[in-house]
C-alpha cells in the first residue's frame, strides 16, 4: 500500500547552495572551505595578526636589536624610544622589544608543538581505543577520566617539579595533559566506524586494520581535529605563559611572555607600562588563533542556515509588502 516516490535529497525549504548554478567544474572541498573562510573578516584578521607574529618569531635574530638576555644595569628601566630601545628596558637593562620578539619565538614554538604532539597522541589513542574496543578501550577511557579530573595547572606544575622544566620538557608536559579531548573525539568517530559495512568489506579483501584506521581518520575525523588543534595552540600558549609567570615554566636565560609579566608585576610601582606589552602579545596571539579556529569551524559547517536577525527579518518583510501593496 505504501509507495514511496522517487526520493530526492532536496529539503522542503529551499536553500541556496554555495556553488553557482552555472558552475561547470565542481570546486573541491578544501577550496570551498578556503573561499568561505576568506569571507570571514574576523578569521582573516586573525590570520594576518598570527602571520605577523610567526614571521617575527622566525626572523627574531634579525629584527631584535639586542640579545634578549643581555643585561645592562646602567641602562635599566629606560622609557620607550630611548636610544635604540624601541620599548625601553626592564629592571636589568634588557631591551624589552628584543625580549618580546624572542619570547614570541618560544611561546609560538611551544604552542604549535604542543598542538601537534597532542593531536598525534590523542588521535592514536582515540583510534586504537575506538576501533579495537574491549579492554584497551576501558583502560584508555579510565586513564582519560583520571587525567581530566586532576586540575591541569596542578598536574603541569607537579610533573614539571618532578621531571624538570627544560624547554623540551615543557612541550612534553603540556602535550601530556592536553591530548584527552582529541582522543575522545577520534574515539567517538571510530565507534561509528566499527558499525559500518565497508569495514567488513575492506577486511574481506585483506586491507589491514591499520590501513583502515589511517584512511578513515584522514577522511572523516580530520575536520574537527583541525579545529581542535587550532584552538589548542592558543590554549597551550596560555598554559605555558601561566607556568612561566609562576616561575615554573620557561626558565632563564630563555625568555617567555609569561616570564616578562612576572617581572613586570614586581616593578609595577616603578614602571607599570612594562606589563602591557607581553600580556598584549599573548592576548593578540590567542585571540587570533581563536578567530582562525572559529573561522575554520564555520567554514566547514555544512549547514547553510541564513543567520537573519529578527530585526533584519522585519525590515525585509516590511520592504517586501510595501513593494507589492
Amino acid at each position: 500500500m505504501s509507495a514511496n516516490l522517487q526520493p530526492t535529497s532536496h529539503p522542503s525549504v529551499p536553500v541556496q547552495t554555495g556553488a553557482a548554478p552555472n558552475a561547470e567544474k565542481p570546486i573541491g572541498p578544501w577550496r570551498q572551505t578556503w573561499n568561505k573562510f576568506k569571507r570571514n573578516p574576523f578569521a582573516m584578521t586573525g590570520l594576518a595578526i598570527l602571520l605577523i607574529f610567526v614571521l617575527s618569531a622566525i626572523l627574531a635574530p634579525y629584527i631584535a636589536p639586542y640579545d634578549p638576555a643581555k643585561q645592562d644595569l646602567m641602562n635599566s628601566n629606560l622609557k620607550p624610544f630611548t636610544g635604540n630601545h624601541f620599548l625601553g628596558t626592564d629592571e636589568l637593562g634588557r631591551d624589552i622589544f628584543s625580549r618580546i620578539v624572542f619570547s614570541g619565538r618560544v611561546s609560538l614554538t611551544v604552542g604549535f608543538s604542543v598542538a601537534a604532539v597532542s593531536v598525534l597522541i590523542g588521535s592514536l589513542i582515540g583510534a586504537i581505543s575506538g576501533y579495537f574496543g574491549g579492554w584497551i578501550d576501558i583502560i584508555f577511557m579510565r586513564l582519560i577520566d583520571v587525567m581530566i579530573s586532576i586540575p591541569t595547572l596542578f598536574l603541569n606544575i607537579l610533573i614539571g617539579a618532578i621531571f624538570g622544566t627544560k624547554f623540551i620538557y615543557i612541550i612534553l608536559i603540556l602535550s601530556f595533559t592536553s591530548w584527552m579531548g582529541v582522543a575522545r573525539l577520534v574515539r567517538g568517530n571510530f565507534l561509528q566506524l566499527r558499525e559500518m559495512q565497508y569495514v567488513e568489506a575492506a577486511k574481506a579483501i585483506g586491507v589491514s586494520s591499520w590501513g583502515i584506521i589511517f584512511r578513515h581518520l584522514l577522511r572523516n575525523a580530520s575536520f574537527p581535529i583541525i579545529v581542535n588543534a587550532t584552538l589548542m595552540v592558543g590554549g597551550a600558549i596560555l598554559a605555558e605563559s601561566g607556568l612561566s609567570y609562576l616561575g615554573l615554566g620557561i626558565q632563564m636565560p630563555q625568555t617567555s611572555w609569561g616570564q616578562m609579566l612576572s617581572n613586570a608585576q614586581e616593578f609595577m610601582l616603578i614602571d607599570p607600562i612594562q606589563g602591557v606589552y607581553p600580556g598584549l602579545c599573548i592576548f593578540l596571539v590567542v585571540l587570533s588563533v581563536n578567530f582562525i579556529g572559529d573561522g575554520i569551524r564555520d567554514a566547514l559547517d555544512p549547514r547553510q542556515k541564513m543567520h537573519l536577525s529578527p530585526r533584519r527579518l522585519e525590515k525585509w518583510r516590511a520592504k517586501f509588502s510595501k513593494s507589492t501593496k
Binding site: M1, S2, A3, N4, L5, Q6, P7, T8, H10, P11, S12, V13, P14, V15, Q16, P21, M306, L308, L313, W316, R317, F320, S321, T324
Partner: protein
C-alpha cells in the same frame, strides 16, 4: 454546495535566503469544504509543507512570509492577521500536526500536561478540569490506561502512541480544520494504518475538515476525498480521488502512480522512475515547470506555462496536452493517458 472552510487564492509564499526571496509556492489556489479531506501530494521540495505553514502563519517563524495572494478561513482573511490574532486561532479553530511525533513533544513535560495546556489556553479551563479532559482525550484517541499515560513523559511512549498524543493535543479544542503534515511518514507501516483509521474516525465524529499532506499516493488513496498534486511550487492536477485514480491525466501524476512498485501488477518490469530531479526553486525551467522530465513534452511546453484545463466535473490539470482545438497538439479533442502510459482518445 457545501461550505468552504479554507480557501487559498493565488498564494505565493517564500523564504529569505542570502538576501533573496525564494518562492516556494507559486500562485497556488485550492479550497477545502466542510467535513472533507483534501490530500496535497508531492515530492520533497514541491512546496506542500510550505503551504501548510503559510496557512497557519507559522512560516513567519521560519524566516519566510506570504508574498502574494490570500488565505481565507471561514470567510476571514488569515493572511492579513497579525500573530496575536493568529494565536487565538491556532490550536483552537485550526490545528496542525507534524511529521515526527517523538520530537514534536516537549521532553520535559508530561503528556497530560501538554494536552491540558491547549485547554487551559483556549478554553480557560482550570488545571484540574483540563487534566481530566486531557485524560478523556487520550482515551478518545485510543490510548489504553489513559490515567497512567497522562503522567508519563514522551520518551516513555512508542512512536505510534506519541502521534496519538499529538492528535489529542490538536483535537483538544475541537478545531474545524486539521492540517496534518506527513503524519505517518515516520511510523511503522502497521501503525500508519492505525493512525489513518483514527483520523478518519475522529473526522466522522467531529465533522472537521482535514488537509493531509503526503508524498505517498497510497495514503492519499485511502483517506482523501479530493487530491491536489503539487510539483516544484505549482499545482499540476486537482480533482476528486475517484477521478485522479481512475483517470490520472497530468504526466507527473501518471509518473507518480507508475512509480508505485506493483501498482500495475507487472512482475518482470524494472521499477519506474521519473527521470531527472526536482529543480531548485530559484532554477525553475521556463514554460511548464515539469517539461524537462516529461516524456510527452512538446514545443509549447518549453515556451509557455500552461493554465488549467478542465477534464471533468471535478478534475483539472495544468498540461498542454489537454488544450482543446490546439494546432500544435497532435491529439484532440480529449486525451486520455491510461495508467500504462499509453495515450488514447
Amino acid at each position: 454546495m457545501a461550505r468552504k472552510i479554507l480557501e487559498v487564492n493565488e498564494m505565493s509564499a517564500g523564504f529569505f535566503v542570502n538576501k533573496e526571496i525564494l518562492k516556494a509556492t507559486d500562485r497556488i489556489s485550492f479550497s477545502v469544504e466542510e467535513g472533507q479531506t483534501l490530500c496535497i501530494v508531492g515530492e520533497s521540495g514541491s512546496g506542500k509543507s510550505v503551504t501548510s505553514l503559510a496557512v497557519m502563519r507559522l512560516i513567519d517563524y521560519a524566516g519566510g512570509m506570504i508574498l502574494e495572494g490570500d488565505i481565507k478561513f471561514n470567510g476571514e482573511i488569515l493572511s492579513e492577521k497579525d500573530q496575536d490574532e493568529m494565536r487565538s486561532i491556532r490550536g483552537n479553530q485550526i490545528a496542525m500536526i507534524f511529521q515526527d511525533p517523538m520530537s514534536s513533544l516537549n521532553p520535559v513535560f508530561t503528556v497530560g500536561e501538554q494536552i491540558a495546556e491547549s485547554l487551559r489556553l483556549h478554553q480557560r479551563k482550570s488545571p484540574k478540569d483540563a487534566m481530566k479532559m486531557a485524560i478523556d482525550l487520550l482515551r478518545e484517541v485510543g490510548i489504553p490506561s489513559p490515567e497512567v499515560r497522562a503522567r508519563q513523559y514522551p520518551h516513555e511512549l512508542s512512536g505510534g502512541m506519541c502521534q496519538r498524543v499529538v492528535i489529542a493535543i490538536a483535537l483538544a479544542c475541537r478545531p474545524e480544520l486539521l492540517i496534518a503534515d506527513e503524519p505517518t511518514t515516520a511510523l511503522d507501516v502497521t501503525v500508519q494504518a492505525q493512525i489513518l483509521d483514527l483520523l478518519q474516525q475522529l473526522q466522522r465524529e467531529t465533522g472537521m475538515s482535514i488537509v493531509l499532506i503526503t508524498h505517498d499516493m497510497g495514503v492519499a488513496a485511502e483517506v482523501a476525498d479530493r487530491i491536489v498534486v503539487m510539483y516544484a511550487g505549482g499545482i499540476m492536477e486537482e480533482g476528486s480521488v475517484e477521478e485522479i485514480f481512475s483517470k490520472p491525466s497530468h504526466p507527473y501524476t501518471v509518473g507518480l502512480l507508475k512509480s508505485i512498485p506493483g501498482f500495475e501488477a507487472k512482475t518482470e518490469e524494472d521499477l519506474y522512475t521519473i527521470k531527472g530531479n526536482i529543480p531548485r526553486i530559484n532554477q525553475l525551467p521556463g514554460g511548464c515547470r515539469f517539461h524537462p522530465r516529461c516524456p510527452h513534452a512538446m514545443d509549447i511546453c518549453r515556451r509557455e506555462e500552461p493554465g488549467f484545463f478542465q477534464l471533468g466535473n471535478d478534475h483539472k490539470a495544468a498540461c498542454w496536452l489537454f488544450e482543446e482545438h490546439s494546432d500544435e497538439s497532435p491529439l484532440s479533442p480529449r486525451i486520455n493517458i491510461g495508467s500504462q502510459g499509453e495515450v488514447t482518445v
